[in-house]
């Protein structure tokens, strides 16, 4: 009797153990998961060893690993796409698009628009560089993407991660993971992509142009900028309201000088929290079944193309502007690349290349103008695409 009972318990234990094994990652592993885990590990390596955008690539890299841990679909409420799962709760910020505006709030609170206010014609460079988005849109259509998907992919050319996530979550939710990873990857690769294009499109004399120092900007102008900027951009493109509204709100917090505490929180603690959750959940959303497709390869190709077009159009636009400017007001075309909104990496590249050719030619502050204009420009472009296609 005891023997029989113990056999029953043993078989029960064995059955449960087998059950347990069926729940483990090993039992549910697919080759796609392994590839994605390797991709996640590569991102972490890039961030730590190569110092490529560590604040973004570490959460995304770990998110990719997290999202590709295989598990049995048994209603455990643990997966990113499962209702009531904690990760699903975090994912709502991406899905419903409220993380990107919060990131924009932080960007606004951290950005100094003085360089742009001092020399407002630099805004036009930020606008011209947005051609990268629409160039990529045309190529995406030629490849065979639907207009809404093409728009979601093309926004990578704006070099603005939050904007890319915001737009793709509205227009092409199924491609959002690939688009977000692609956008952030290329932002990290800006120092690799942009310099050859800049060198190719400029002559040595153009690279040596010294721009006259910017005038000082009054406090009134700094306060007025977010208010007027908000009114003008959102009256023209109301669909860009969530991004532009938060960007200018953050900047007003900073420039009003009366809400320093709020600006500090928006630009540091709040921004960090949102970036962590955004990076993690975007990484998680790149599950092998969704990510390892031909579409992803096309997206990466289109993303690189968009960056190249954006850089080229910014540089060429400066060269065109120079045709109409007097000799003392000429602009160094090396700041044209900064029209993409990868702040401040793109501006830093202008500075570094400028210094390569003339060790006394400091372009950083001049390049910050088109760089921050690019943030506004890409948000406006996203609003336009959203308005037309949603």
């Amino acid at each position: 009797m005891i023997m029989l009972e113990s056999t029953g318990i043993l078989s029960f234990i064995a059955q449960k153990f087998v059950d347990f094994l069926s729940y483990t990652g090993f039992a549910n592993l697919e080759w796609g998961n392994l590839i994605m885990i390797a991709v996640g590990a590569f991102f972490i390596w890039l961030a730590i060893k190569k110092d490529f955008e560590p604040l973004l690539l570490i959460p995304i890299g770990l998110g990719i690993i997290l999202g590709n841990i295989p598990f049995k679909s048994a209603g455990l409420e643990i997966g990113l796409y499962e209702d009531n799962a904690v990760l699903n709760f975090f994912y709502q910020g991406v899905k419903l698009g409220w993380y990107p505006p919060l990131v924009f709030l932080g960007i606004g609170a951290m950005t100094d628009f003085s360089a742009l206010i001092a020399n407002p014609k630099l805004m036009l460079i930020g606008a011209a560089a947005q051609f990268g988005i629409f160039g990529a849109y045309m190529i995406a259509l030629a490849i065979g993407f639907e207009p809404n998907q093409a728009a979601g992919i093309a926004i990578i050319g704006g070099a603005d991660g939050p904007t890319a996530i915001f737009l793709s979550s509205k227009l092409a939710p199924n491609l959002m993971g690939a688009i977000a990873v692609c956008a952030y990857s290329y932002m990290a690769l800006v120092p690799v992509i942009q310099p050859p294009v800049m060198r190719l499109l400029t002559t040595k004399n153009e690279r040596l142009i010294k721009m006259k120092p910017s005038r000082s900007v009054s406090e009134t102008e700094k306060i007025l900028f977010p208010i007027v900027g908000l009114l003008i951009t959102t009256f023209v493109v109301p669909s860009g309201l969530p991004l532009l509204g938060m960007l200018f709100f953050g900047n007003l917090l900073k420039e009003s000088t009366k809400t320093t505490r709020l600006a500090k929180t928006a630009g540091s603690a709040l921004n960090d929290i949102v970036v962590m959750l955004l990076g993690l959940t975007v990484g998680c959303s790149t599950q092998a079944s969704e990510f390892l497709t031909w579409d992803t390869i096309f997206i990466f190709f289109l993303g690189a193309t968009a960056f190249v077009i954006a850089t080229a159009s910014g540089v060429c636009f400066v060269k065109i502007m120079n045709l109409f400017l007097s000799k003392k007001n000429k602009i160094n075309p090396l700041i044209g690349n900064a029209g993409v909104s990868a702040v401040p990496m793109a501006a830093r590249i202008s500075q570094n290349i400028g210094l390569e050719y003339d060790s006394h030619n400091y372009l950083l502050m001049h390049a910050m103008g088109p760089n921050v204009a690019g943030v506004i420009g890409s948000a406006v472009a996203a609003g336009v695409l959203l308005g037309f296609l949603s």
Partner: protein, 341 residues
């Protein structure tokens, strides 16, 4: 003052809240009405109620992009309800209320609800207390919870629809909303009419702009235009501020010059005149004295009038003797001579 500001803020918020509430109810509109003859031998409508019965139905759409509840609103087919002189109880008597307590009446953005116009309210929330006439003219109106505010109304002329057809709100080529007859096979209860909605936008771009040139041109123009507007504003504003700063500098320099002159005068003349040139100082005091002593200064016109006034202190005649001095001297001399002889 603070209290006034507080009251003003409170009043503004209250007003905004009231408007928001009104906006909520006003978001509802009739979107499709289907007339069905319940006595038809073969079913003409595939959309049946919870009891498997066919009847005419009215579709109401939440046209906004936020959630609103239809509960408490009234629906009627009685045109008399439009009479503004009727009392609320009289109105309610001729209307069918959409009762509360049913989650189906809570409509999310662009969601639609279908009410069966079968005159059988005992069958549930989605049934009205009136029927629609499949052959005659039909009027329907939707009222807000106060039974007075008209939200939407619709008249379907007699003979417009045959049994099973619907009258739908559609967008024409120019995007205007129009009512049109929909054939039986295209009736869409609880769904947008065929050919409307998001997919249509994407399809239109795909069809009309397969290469994306139009999108690129339009969008680039908008982005450039937007940032160009910002450029123009801050260019002009910066120029104005620069100009004002220059003027302020000139003014400041002028003030410094004046001060320097004053100090130089003080150094030359002492502090008595507070740096004003002595002649000006005396003139100013003289004028003030003159005015104070009731001179002829004309206060009203602000014109200083000086009346010619002759005094004898410098009269040449007064300076002269009655007899010329030379003659008198000669006379005196001859007198002396005569006395000596």
């Amino acid at each position: 003052m603070k209290m006034k500001i507080k009251l003003f803020t409170l009043a503004t918020m209250l007003l905004a809240t009231t408007m928001a509430m009104a906006q909520g109810a006003q978001s509802f509109r009739f979107s499709e009405v289907c007339l069905v003859n319940p006595n038809d031998s073969c079913p003409t409508s595939s959309y049946l109620d919870e009891y498997g019965q066919q009847s005419s139905w009215i579709e109401i759409e939440n046209s906004s992009y936020s959630t609103h509840d239809l509960r408490g609103c009234y629906i009627t087919n009685n045109r008399k309800a439009l009479d503004p002189n009727l009392s609320v109880p009289e109105r309610i008597e001729m209307m069918s209320i959409i009762v509360s307590g049913d989650s189906r009446t809570n409509l999310t953005a662009k969601q639609r609800i279908v009410l069966f116009a079968d005159g059988k309210v005992n069958r549930g929330t989605l049934h009205t207390n009136f029927c629609l006439d499949p052959e005659g003219e039909n009027f329907i109106a939707l009222f807000d919870g106060n039974a007075k505010t008209l939200i939407d109304s619709l008249t379907i002329p007699a003979g417009t629809l045959t049994s099973g057809q619907s009258f739908s709100l559609l967008a024409d080529d120019e995007g205007n909303m129009i009512w049109a007859v929909t054939p039986v096979e295209e009736v869409t209860p609880k769904a947008p009419a065929v050919g409307t909605g998001h997919n249509n936008k994407v399809a239109e771009w795909k069809e009309k702009d397969p290469h994306g040139f139009a999108m690129a041109i339009i969008s680039m123009c908008i982005v450039l235009g937007c940032l160009a507007l910002l450029y123009v504003f801050f260019h002009i504003f910066g120029w104005t501020l620069n100009r004002m700063a220059k003027l302020a500098r000139v003014k400041a320099i002028r003030k410094i010059h004046e001060e320097a002159e004053r100090l130089a005068t003080m150094a030359k003349q002492g502090r008595e005149t507070q740096g004003i040139e002595y002649e000006n100082y005396v003139a100013a005091i003289s004028l003030a004295m003159h005015e104070y002593l009731g001179g002829t200064h004309d206060m009203e016109s602000g014109v200083l009038t000086i009346t010619p006034h002759t005094t004898s202190w410098n009269n040449k005649e007064d300076e002269m003797l009655a007899t010329p001095l030379k003659q008198q001297a000669t006379t005196n001399l001859s007198n002396i001579k005569n006395s000596a002889e």
